[in-house]
């Protein structure tokens, strides 16, 4: 197996990724086994297999790149991805199960999702930016540049509009800042306007939160510039007040998704449908599941987007809790390995890239799996390696390649 070791750079990472990818193709195949066959899902597993071959090719190439080149290409890649994202807004099209999202660019017969590449580019860009610093961010102002760096692609993705992918960028930002040594308080303050936005649904709760926030700022007044404190207060005030107009600016389906998250029974035939059916599918899977390809909820088309965003519902229905646990263990192993490699590496850039990838995957996994069971609101976000989607698979494998390559260089 020495060839594998040589090829994979990091056999653990690549091995788990291969297992997950094949597992995913199996589930995509099963998702296509319907009682009334649908042309969309029927051949998806074959196309995904082809994409896996492309991904392995990309992996082979990417693991041969010199780490220095990776560092060098980080910023150009970031700029390029931002340009592509901007272009998507102009020439983008919807596709597949995400018909309403302008996320794809078509070049001849090829169709890809710049937002997936942009995640990787953002990880690289942020790592480059933070690694260029001499030390950890020590003021809130130091967070400004990294925040803007992430905010640009994030904003462009929101405009598509693709809330799920946008959340992945948030994960990248916080993971990068955390690994760069940003004090947790700063991370909290950075997140506070977002928190204010969530809490603003109730004036009382928001008011209590705001008083608490001011108290925290006062207690830490010696570590913050006055302008920084003022900015945090203003940001929270703004978040609290724009909540209503922002709510109004959301698309109907986005609002409904948030509402049915709180109460799926509100609209069981409409927006709550996906969540209820997904829960029924997973719950009825029981301990051992209904058997591979035998899921009735899936077969009868009750599951929404079952080969992409809701692939985990199929896993839950057909393989039961045992299958769910297996998937969780595999993802844990993958993420654990990333953290382990990041801890080992001495190069700040490598560590930041590894941890940034950890952040984006963790967000993907938690939100994707969590939404199928009603733990988090439904957002269109795929499950790494498992969900159907060529660009995403290639991106994930490139991330594995870069992680393995950068970690290998260090050890």
């Amino acid at each position: 197996m020495s060839w594998f070791r040589r090829w994979a750079c990091d056999p653990t990472l690549a091995g788990v990724a291969i297992v997950l990818s094949i597992f995913g193709i199996g589930m995509i195949y099963s998702a296509g086994v319907l009682n009334v066959p649908s042309p969309v899902t029927e051949g998806a597993w074959l196309r995904q297999s082809a994409w896996l071959l492309v991904s392995l090719g990309a992996f082979t190439v990417a693991t041969r790149i010199k780490p220095g080149w990776i560092e060098w290409v980080a910023m150009p890649a970031y700029v390029g991805s931002v340009v592509l994202l901007a272009a998507t807004l102009v020439v983008g099209t919807g596709a597949g199960t995400a018909e309403g999202v302008q996320g794809w660019i078509e070049v001849g017969p090829l169709r890809f999702q710049p937002s997936e590449f942009a995640k990787l580019a953002a990880v690289l860009g942020l790592a480059r930016l933070l690694a260029a610093r001499d030390d950890s961010p020590e003021t809130l102002r130091d967070l400004l540049a990294p925040s803007i760096l992430i905010a640009i692609p994030l904003g462009l993705v929101v405009l598509q509009p693709d809330l799920g992918t946008a959340l992945a960028f948030v994960g990248v930002l916080f993971a990068g800042l955390f690994w760069a040594g940003t004090p947790p308080l700063f991370l909290f303050l950075l997140a506070s306007p977002g928190l204010a936005l969530l809490l603003s649904f109730s004036t009382l709760v928001w008011s209590l939160y705001f008083v608490g926030l001011v108290g925290v700022l006062y207690a830490w007044r010696y570590r913050l510039y006055l302008a920084e404190s003022a900015a945090v207060v203003l940001g929270n005030l703004a978040a609290g007040t724009i909540a209503t107009p922002l709510w109004g600016s959301l698309a109907e389906y986005q609002r409904n998704r948030l509402l049915v998250f709180l109460d799926p029974a509100m609209d069981p035939r409409g927006a709550g449908w996906n969540l209820i059916q997904s829960k029924v599918a997973i719950g009825s899977g029981g301990l051992l599941g209904k058997g591979f390809t035998e899921g009735t909820q899936k077969r009868l088309d009750f599951l929404p987007e079952q080969h992409t965003d809701f692939i985990f519902s199929v896993i839950g229905e057909e393989l039961g809790f045992v299958g769910v646990l297996l998937a969780i263990v595999l993802f844990s192993a993958l993420l654990y390995r990333l953290v382990h490699l990041a801890e080992k590496t001495t190069d700040p850039f490598a560590g930041l890239v590894l941890f940034g990838i950890f952040g984006t995957w963790l967000v993907h996994i938690f939100i994707n799996i969590g939404m199928t069971i009603g733990l988090v609101p439904i957002t269109g976000i795929p499950l790494p390696f498992v969900s159907y989607g060529g660009t995403f698979l290639v991106t994930c494998w490139t991330m594995v390649a870069l992680s393995a390559r950068l970690a290998q260089e260090e050890s």
């Binding site: 319907l34 260029a132 030390d135 909820q297 088309d301 009750f302 769910v324 969590g370």
Partner: protein, 630 residues
């Protein structure tokens, strides 16, 4: 950035791993709760999500005739229905299958109306779809949410219109019927007997519905087989064996004049079993299966000849001369007349009673007649005198005892009772005057307030063929059922019965009114009748009621025929009775049925009839044994 100290990295890694552990642990706990702790509840919901409960229609019991031939059975048919859904989905569903099933706008509107009236029941679009349409629907099922096909047993009647009135028909249970007592076990959409035997023996013929589950997908398309999985099988109804003779029914249907109305009843003398019960015009019960179309229904109901009216058991006619046998029987039973006795007044064409003059049908008169002669000539004058001897009160009393004011008790849902005075109060109640003794003149010759169903007349003649008793006529032969109860007896000894039969025999002998209908192989005896209707210009109804059997043996079949406005009992009704009786007996004794039957047919065909009884009956064999029939 400078290299971060390993301790710091380890610290951050620990935080990250803690976060990872929390996230994954949370997911694992949530899924454990949903799948293992609450799994069964979700599993139940998943079942109800995808399974629709549908009834599994049960086949009705098969109906056999007396020889074991199938009269009614079931063949598979496909019905097309739509699952309950919002009205607009129903409408769009109907629009999509409209070209395949090919129904018109009127039917479309009616179906939509039906769907909006009952939102919970599946909507039956076509109860008996063409095979091609079913195949097309099956093929397109992916594009037709809510449509489901159902294999339903479909009733098939072998005799067609020959058995319309006896069989009745089946149809989907109506809302009214569902609420009636006795229908508690029934469910909407079930097929029930609506009339005739199908209704009479509904409890027996109806099986019990099964239950099946059909799998549907998220948009209501049926997946897998349309048959689904049977959770409880449908149990077929019990079979029904009849006294009826299918071939005889078909033969009667064939020989009864197409353009005329009337009825034919044939009874088995032995047990009163109904061999044939035919009413013309008839209808084909097969047309009712799967829902009769409104046009045909309107036609059947508005047709002046009333095809749905069962003349054999519901129609009432003045029995006319056929009732003279009853007068004769009463006279004999009371001992007021002897069979060989001549009435004091010879028939000269009319009869005076007090200041009333009543006519005989033959104005030239019949002269002196004994009982047999009076029956043979249907002489009114003889029966006027016999009636007077009996007396009005006793004639009414005996006639009532013989059941002429009651129904026969046939096993059909509807039967008319005869109209006959129950007592002398009848005239007071009905006409508002006290009965005059001269009413007996009318009653004695089968006129006056006396209307009988063909079945009733047939039942009365059964008593003549037996020992003077008559059981209730039955269509069905139910297992374990005792011999039909005898309700009344003529109270006549064998000599009196012989005398009556001898009189009836002369009717078909040379000089008798129905001589032309006499038969080669059988002792065919009977009485013609011509019943005048109320108005002079109306054409009379033609009657014949008779018995037939092998020579010198007991009669085996009673046959009653009425032809509305048939004018002449001897020319119109008697041949039908003769041919039907002949057909039945020939089949019973294995004689080919394709040869000429009545004397008239022999004469018309120029075929000699050496068997014709120019002088009474053929000579009995010297050794006293029965004539061998070949």
């Amino acid at each position: 950035m400078r290299t971060v100290h390993p301790n710091l990295r380890r610290g951050r890694a620990r935080v990250a791993l803690l976060l990872l552990g929390l996230v994954m642990g949370l997911l694992a706990v949530v899924f454990f709760r949903a799948q293992v702790v609450r799994g069964s509840a979700w599993a139940l919901q998943s079942e109800s999500n995808r399974l629709r409960v549908l009834p599994l229609p049960s086949p009705r019991g098969t109906i056999f005739d007396r020889y074991g031939n199938v009269i009614a059975d079931n063949v598979p048919s496909y019905s097309v229905s739509l699952f309950p859904a919002p009205l607009d989905s129903i409408e769009s569903g109907l629009r999509r299958i409209q070209p395949i099933l090919g129904f018109g706008e009127e039917r479309f509107n009616r179906l939509v109306e039906q769907a909006s009236a009952d939102r919970r029941q599946p909507l039956l679009v076509d109860a008996d779809a063409e095979y091609e349409a079913v195949a097309a629907l099956e093929e397109l099922r992916g594009e037709l949410p809510g449509v489901f096909l159902e294999m339903r047993p479909k009733r098939r009647y072998m005799g067609g219109a020959a058995l319309g009135h006896v069989m009745g028909y089946v149809g989907e249970i109506s809302g009214d019927e569902l609420e009636r007592p006795g229908f508690e076990e029934y469910e909407p959409r079930m097929i029930i007997g609506k009339d005739g035997l199908e209704r009479q023996y509904e409890d027996l013929l109806q099986g019990s519905q099964g239950v099946r589950y059909v799998e549907v997908d998220a948009v209501g398309r049926v997946v897998g087989s349309f048959e689904g999985q049977a959770a409880a099988p449908a149990l077929p109804g019990d079979d029904l064996h009849l006294n009826l003779d299918l071939a005889l029914m078909e033969y009667i249907h064939q020989i009864f004049p197409d353009s005329l109305q009337g009825a034919v009843v044939a009874l088995d003398v032995d047990d009163g079993g109904i061999l044939a019960l035919y009413s013309a015009p008839s209808f084909d019960p097969n047309r009712f299966v799967g829902g009769i179309d409104s046009q045909l229904w309107t036609f059947l109901n508005q047709d002046p000849t009333r095809p749905l009216f069962n003349r054999a058991v519901v129609g009432r006619y003045p029995p006319a001369s056929t009732w003279k046998v009853a007068t004769a029987a009463i006279g004999l039973e009371m001992g007021v007349v002897d069979s060989g006795e001549f009435m004091p007044q010879a028939c000269n064409g009319s009869f005076r009673y007090g200041n009333v003059v009543r006519r005989c049908w033959d104005s030239s008169g019949h002269g002196h007649l004994d009982l047999a002669g009076a029956l043979a000539n249907s002489c009114n004058v003889y029966f006027y005198q016999l009636g007077l001897r009996i007396g009005l009160e006793r004639l009414v009393e005996r006639g009532t005892r013989f059941g002429f004011s009651e129904p026969c008790g046939v096993d059909l849902p509807a039967e008319s009772s005869g109209i006959f005075p129950g007592s002398l109060d009848f005239w007071q109640d009905r006409f508002g005057y006290r009965a005059n003794e001269n009413e007996v003149l009318s009653l004695a010759i089968g006129q006056g307030p006396n209307d009988q169903t063909p079945l009733k007349m047939a039942q009365f003649y059964v008593a003549l063929g037996r020992d003077g008793t008559a059981p209730a006529p039955r269509l069905a032969r139910l297992r374990g059922e005792e011999e039909p109860e005898i309700e009344w007896s003529l109270g006549l000894g064998p000599e009196s019965l012989d005398a009556l039969r001898e009189g009836l025999r002369e009717v078909t002998a040379a000089g008798g009114t129905a001589f032309m209908s006499s038969l080669e192989h059988w002792d065919f005896i009977g009485k013609t009748g011509t019943a005048q209707q109320g108005l002079e210009q109306d054409r009379s109804h033609a009657w014949f009621v008779g018995l037939a059997g092998p020579w010198f043996e007991e009669p085996e079949i009673v046959i009653a025929v009425i032809v509305e406005e048939g004018e002449s009992g001897s020319a119109m009704a008697a041949p039908i009775a003769a041919k039907a009786a002949d057909y039945h007996l020939r089949r019973k004794y294995g004689i080919p049925t394709d040869t000429i039957q009545t004397l008239r047919e022999h004469i018309n065909a120029g075929v000699s009839a050496p068997w014709a009884r120019w002088n009474g009956r053929p000579d009995p064999p010297a050794d006293g044994s029965a004539v061998e029939i070949e």
